[in-house]
C-alpha cells in the first residue's frame, strides 16, 4: 500500500499506544522508562507533524473507519486540512516538549515515582491527536474526555499538596460540565442530521448534510461554544486555568497550555465552519466580545501575578482571547460572505494558534527549567538568573519578545494580521459593527501593550537584577535535552516571525476549503519577502528586512564604535550615589505592577494591608512593616461562590427528605399514590 498522511498519523497513534503499553514493564527502572517513552512520543509526534504538514500542503482529505466502539457506531476518523493544521501544531510542540521532558522528568527521580507522569503525558498526547482526527461525535467525545482525564491526573501528579488537588478538582469539574454541553450540542445536531432511528446520525458527515432550523442551530452552537470555552479558559470559565497550570509539572503544562487549549479552538472552528456553516453575524460578534474580554482580563491578571507559571497561565488565557478575536472576526465576515476578509481573519487566528503553541511552550519549558534549577516558584525570590543560567535566560528572552508581539518574532505577525482584519471592518454593511469593531481593535492594542509590560516584568524580575534568595542556593544551568527543546521552540519562533509568507501560503488551503476564499498571493518580486495579505498598497510587512535591517545597523554601529577601542571599567552601582544597595532593595514584581494595579484595580478584588509595629508605640519609628496583598478574581464572588452556595442549600433541602422517622417515609408513598390517582383519573 502507498503511504498517505493518514498512515503516518495512525502509525504515530500506534507508537504512542505501544509506548503506553510499555509503561507497566518499565516502571521499575524509572530512567529507562523516561528515556524510552519520551523518545517514542517524540517519534510519534514527529510522524504526526509530517502527516499534518503533508495533508495541509496537498489539501488531502482522507477518512477511515476503525471498527471499535459500538458495532453500529464505529470510530470514524478523518484527516482534512483543518485537522491537518492542528495535527501539525500538536505534533510540533509534542516533539519539542517530549525531548525537553527527557531532561526535565529526570529531575523527579529520587523524589517520587514518575510513572503516572510519563503515562498520562503520553495519554494526553494521544488524546489530542485523536480529538483532531475524530470524525463522529462519539469518538470525538471519547478522545476529548480521555484528554481531560489524563490532564487531570497530570495536575494531580504531586497529589499530596492540597492546592494540586483543589486545582485538579476544579479543572475536571468545569471540563466535564463543558463536555456534557458539547455532548448535548452534538445530540441536537445528530437529531437533525437523521432522526434517531439509527446511529448514523452521529457521524460528522451526516451533520454536514443536516438541515437545521436557525433557532436550533443557535442552541447547538452556543452549547458547543460553552463547552469548548470551558476548556479553552474563556472568561468567565477561566478560573481553573491558572490553578491547574501553576501546579502541574512544567512539561505537562507546556502541552496543556500550548496545545490542549487549542483543541477547544479546533472544536469551535469545526462546529462553526464545517458542521453548521450557515450562521448570522451576531454569533461572530458574541465570540468576538468574549475574546476581547478574555484577552484583556487575562493579561491584566497576568501582570499582577507573582508566581511565574501562574503569570504564564493567565497570559495563555490572553492569547486564547486573541485567537477567539480572530475567529469571531472570521465568523462575522463569513456571515456576510466576504470570503477574502474572513480568510484573512481565520488565517490570523490559526497563525496565532501556531505561534502561541511555540512561544508559550517555550516559556513554560523555561519556567520549568528555572523551577528545576532553583526549586523556587515565586518570582520575588529570584533574580539575576541570567548570570547563572545563560542559555535558559536567552531562550526565555526570545519567548518573551515573541509573546510581546515585537518584530521580527512570530507573535507580531499574527497580531498584525488580526489588526489588519480589524481595519477591514468598514467594509461590513452593518453600521453598528463599523462603529464597534474599531473599539475592539483598541482593546487588542491595549492587550498587546500590556503583554509587553507583563513580560518585561516576568523576564526582568526573574532573570535580571541580582539573586534575591539566600546566596548559597546552588543554581546550575539545565542539561542538554532541556536546552535542545527550548532551542527548537525558540528557533521556530524566529522562523515563523521572519518567513511568515511560506507558512501562510502553506495554510491558505484551510480557509479556501472552509470559507471558499483565500489570501491574495504575496505581491511584487521577492514575493516571499513581503507579507501583503490584501494588496501591496493596503498594508505590507517584511520580517526578513526588519531582521536584517536591525542586525545591519547594530553591527555597523558596533564596528564603528569599536574601531577606536575604549576600555570598559567594571564598577559598583552608582544609583544616584546611594550606597550599600542590597538585592532586597531591588524593585520587586509587586512594585513593578503597582501602577497597573492602581489604574485597573477596579476590575479586581484587591486587598492591600500594611501593618506597622513600632518601637513602644512611636509610629514615627517603625521597627518592622508588614505588607500583604491579596488579589482575587471577582468572578469567584460573582459566579462560583453563589453557585456553590446554592447547590449546598439545595442539598440541605434534599437532605430533609431523609430525616429518619419511618412514619414520614410511609407518608411519601401514601401521598404519591393519592396524587398519581388523582392526576390520572
Amino acid at each position: 500500500m502507498t503511504a498517505t498522511p493518514f498512515t503516518l498519523a495512525s502509525a504515530s497513534l500506534f507508537i504512542i499506544f505501544s509506548a503506553l503499553a510499555l509503561v507497566p514493564f518499565l516502571f521499575r527502572n524509572q530512567r529507562a522508562l523516561i528515556t524510552a517513552v519520551f523518545s517514542l512520543t517524540a517519534i510519534s509526534s514527529l510522524l504526526s507533524l509530517i502527516a499534518g504538514i503533508w495533508t495541509v500542503r496537498d489539501g488531502i482529505t482522507e477518512s477511515y473507519i476503525i471498527l471499535l466502539g459500538l458495532p453500529d457506531l464505529p470510530f470514524h476518523m478523518r484527516l482534512d486540512s483543518l485537522s491537518g493544521f492542528f495535527l501539525t501544531v500538536i505534533g510540533a510542540l509534542g516533539f519539542i516538549v517530549s525531548i525537553y521532558s527527557i531532561g526535565y522528568v529526570r529531575g523527579f527521580i529520587g523524589q517520587r515515582s514518575v510513572t503516572s507522569l510519563v503515562f498520562f503525558y503520553s495519554l494526553l498526547l494521544a488524546g489530542m491527536f485523536m480529538v483532531v482526527l475524530a470524525d463522529d461525535a462519539f469518538f470525538f467525545l471519547i478522545s476529548w474526555e480521555v484528554m481531560a482525564a489524563s490532564s487531570y491526573f497530570l495536575v494531580m501528579f504531586e497529589d499530596e499538596r492540597t492546592e494540586n488537588r483543589r486545582a485538579a478538582f476544579l479543572y475536571l469539574a468545569i471540563a466535564h460540565v463543558g463536555a456534557i454541553a458539547i455532548l448535548l450540542s452534538f445530540g441536537l445536531m445528530a437529531g437533525f442530521a437523521t432522526g434517531f432511528e439509527g446511529f448514523n446520525g452521529y457521524t460528522f458527515d451526516a451533520m454536514r448534510k443536516m438541515d437545521i432550523p436557525p433557532s436550533w442551530a443557535a442552541v447547538a452552537f452556543f452549547l458547543a461554544f460553552f463547552g469548548f470555552a470551558a476548556k479553552a479558559g474563556v472568561m468567565p470559565l477561566h478560573v481553573w486555568l491558572p490553578d491547574a497550570d501553576s501546579v502541574a509539572p512544567s512539561n505537562a503544562v507546556a502541552l496543556m497550555s500550548g496545545v490542549m487549549l487549542k483543541t477547544a479552538i479546533y472544536g469551535i472552528l469545526r462546529v462553526t465552519f464545517d458542521l453548521i456553516r450557515v450562521f448570522p453575524w451576531w454569533w461572530g460578534a458574541v465570540v468576538l466580545v468574549f475574546g476581547l474580554m478574555t484577552a484583556v482580563m487575562g493579561i491584566l491578571f497576568a501582570i499582577l501575578q507573582q508566581d511565574l507559571k501562574r503569570l504564564l497561565a493567565y497570559s495563555s488565557m490572553e492569547n486564547i482571547g486573541i485567537i477567539l478575536i480572530g475567529t469571531g472576526m472570521a465568523m462575522v465576515f463569513a456571515s456576510f460572505n466576504m470570503t477574502a476578509l474572513s480568510a484573512l481573519a481565520l488565517i490570523a487566528a490559526l497563525y496565532h494558534t501556531l505561534n502561541h503553541a511555540m512561544f508559550k511552550g517555550l516559556l513554560f519549558m523555561g519556567a520549568g527549567a528555572v523551577h528545576h534549577a532553583t526549586r523556587e516558584r515565586g518570582m520575588e525570590g529570584m533574580g539575576g538568573l541570567i548570570h547563572r543560567m545563560p542559555w535558559t535566560s536567552a531562550l526565555f528572552l526570545i519567548g518573551s519578545v515573541s509573546i510581546s508581539a515585537l518584530p521580527p518574532f512570530n507573535g507580531f505577525v499574527s497580531e498584525w494580521l488580526t489588526f489588519q482584519a480589524f481595519l477591514l471592518s468598514p467594509a461590513l454593511p452593518s453600521p453598528l459593527l463599523n462603529l464597534l469593531i474599531p473599539l475592539g481593535a483598541a482593546i487588542l492594542a491595549l492587550t498587546a501593550a500590556l503583554a509587553a509590560t507583563c513580560f518585561v516584568k516576568a523576564f526582568g524580575v526573574t532573570f535580571l537584577g541580582r539573586w534575591r534568595g539566600d546566596h548559597d542556593t546552588p543554581i546550575h544551568e539545565v542539561d542538554g535535552f532541556m536546552k535542545t527543546g527550548m532551542g527548537l521552540a525558540a528557533s521556530m519562533c524566529l522562523f515563523l516571525g521572519v518567513l511568515p509568507t511560506f507558512v501562510i501560503d502553506w495554510m491558505d488551503i484551510v480557509p479556501e476549503r472552509f470559507l471558499g476564499g483565500k489570501l491574495a498571493a504575496s505581491a511584487g518580486e521577492f514575493g516571499w519577502m513581503w507579507l501583503t495579505p490584501i494588496s501591496y498598497t493596503r498594508a505590507s510587512y517584511s520580517g526578513p528586512v526588519v531582521l536584517l535591517g536591525i542586525i545591519a545597523i547594530v553591527a555597523l554601529a558596533y564596528i564603528i564604535l569599536h574601531a577606536r577601542g575604549t576600555t570598559i571599567h567594571r564598577g559598583p552601582l552608582w544609583d544616584c550615589g546611594f550606597e550599600k544597595i542590597t538585592p532586597r532593595m531591588q524593585y520587586t514584581g509587586t512594585a513593578f505592577s503597582m501602577p497597573i494595579r492602581r489604574i485597573f484595580g477596579f476590575l479586581f478584588n484587591v486587598r492591600e494591608r500594611i501593618e506597622v509595629d513600632a518601637e513602644h508605640g512611636q509610629r514615627a519609628f517603625p521597627s518592622r512593616i508588614y505588607y500583604s496583598l491579596k488579589i482575587r478574581d471577582r468572578m469567584w464572588n460573582w459566579l462560583y461562590q453563589p453557585v456553590a452556595d446554592a447547590s449546598f442549600w439545595v442539598a440541605r433541602q434534599a437532605g430533609r427528605l431523609q430525616q429518619g422517622r419511618i412514619q414520614m417515609y410511609l407518608i411519601y408513598p401514601f401521598i404519591t399514590i393519592i396524587v398519581l390517582l388523582v392526576l390520572l383519573r
Partner: protein
Amino acid sequence: MSEIFPYILDGLQIVILLFAAPVFAGWVKTLKCWFQGRTTAGVLQPYRDLTKLFHKDIVLAENASWVFRFTPYAVFGSVVLAGGIIPILSVDLPLSATADIIALISLFTIARFFTALAGMDIGTAFGGMGASREKTIASVAEPAMLMAIFTVSLVCKSTSLSQMVQVIAHGEFILRPSLAFALLAFALIALAETGRVPVDNPATHLELTMIHEGMILEYSGRHLALIEWAGMMKLFLFAALGIAAFFPWGIAAANDSPALFVAALSLILKLTVAGVGLVMIETGLAKMRFFRVPEFLGSAFLFATLGMLSYFMLE
C-alpha cells in the same frame, strides 16, 4: 539609474535622520531657553554632547549582563530602521514596504522593551521604578496611538505610510473633522511617547520624578551616547510621523530633484513650527503627577475615538 535611485534616497533619508535629529533637539532646547529668557548653548550643542560621550570610557555596573550592553544597540537599530520607513522627503522608498504604521509603532516598542529590561538589569530601585512607569505609560499610550493612526488609515484605506501620504497629499483636498481629532490625540500621545513634559521631564534627574532617565541611570560613555542619540531621533521621527500623517503636503511623490527640493524646504519649515509648538506646550504646562498621566492619555484616547466615530458619522 532610476531603479537604484530610490535606494540612494532611502539611504540619504537615514543620513538626514541621523544628523538632523540632534539639530532638531538643539532647536527645541534653544527655543526653550528663549522662552524662559535664558542664554542658549546654540543649536549644535547636542553634537558636542554626543561626541563628548562617545569619547568617554564606559563604567559598567559589576552585575550588568549582556542585556544591559546590548540594549543601546537594539534601541539605536530599531529607531534608525524606523527612520528608513517613514517618508520624510519622498514616498517612493524601497524600505517603506518593510513595515506599515503598526509595525513602525512596534519598532518603537522594541526600543522601549529593551530599555526597560536594561533598567531592571542592574538591579537598582530606580531602574525598576523607571521601567515600571515607562511600561505603564506605554501600555496606556499605545492603544490611543493606534486609535489615532487607525483613523488616518481608515481615511486612506491603508496602513502603509507612503500610501497614506499619497492619498492625503496627492488626492483631492478635503477638510476632515476626523483627522482634526486624530491630530489632537496624536499630539498628546507624542508628548508621552517621546517623554516630554507634562508626562516626563527629559531634563530632570530628580529621583522620584524621573521615568526615562531612571532606566538609563547606569549608562555611560558610548552606550549613553547611543541612547541619547536614539532619543533625539525618536523625537524627530515622531515629528516626521505627525507630518507624514497629517500635513504631508510637500512630500515628494516621485523622485525628481525639484520635488525633493520642495520636500526638503517644507520639511524644515514644518519641523521649525513643530518645535515651536512643542516648546510652547512644554513651557506652558507643568509636569503632572504620575497617576494623573492615565487621565491625560485617556483623554487622548477619547479624542482618537471621537475622530473615528466622526469618520463614520460625518464622512
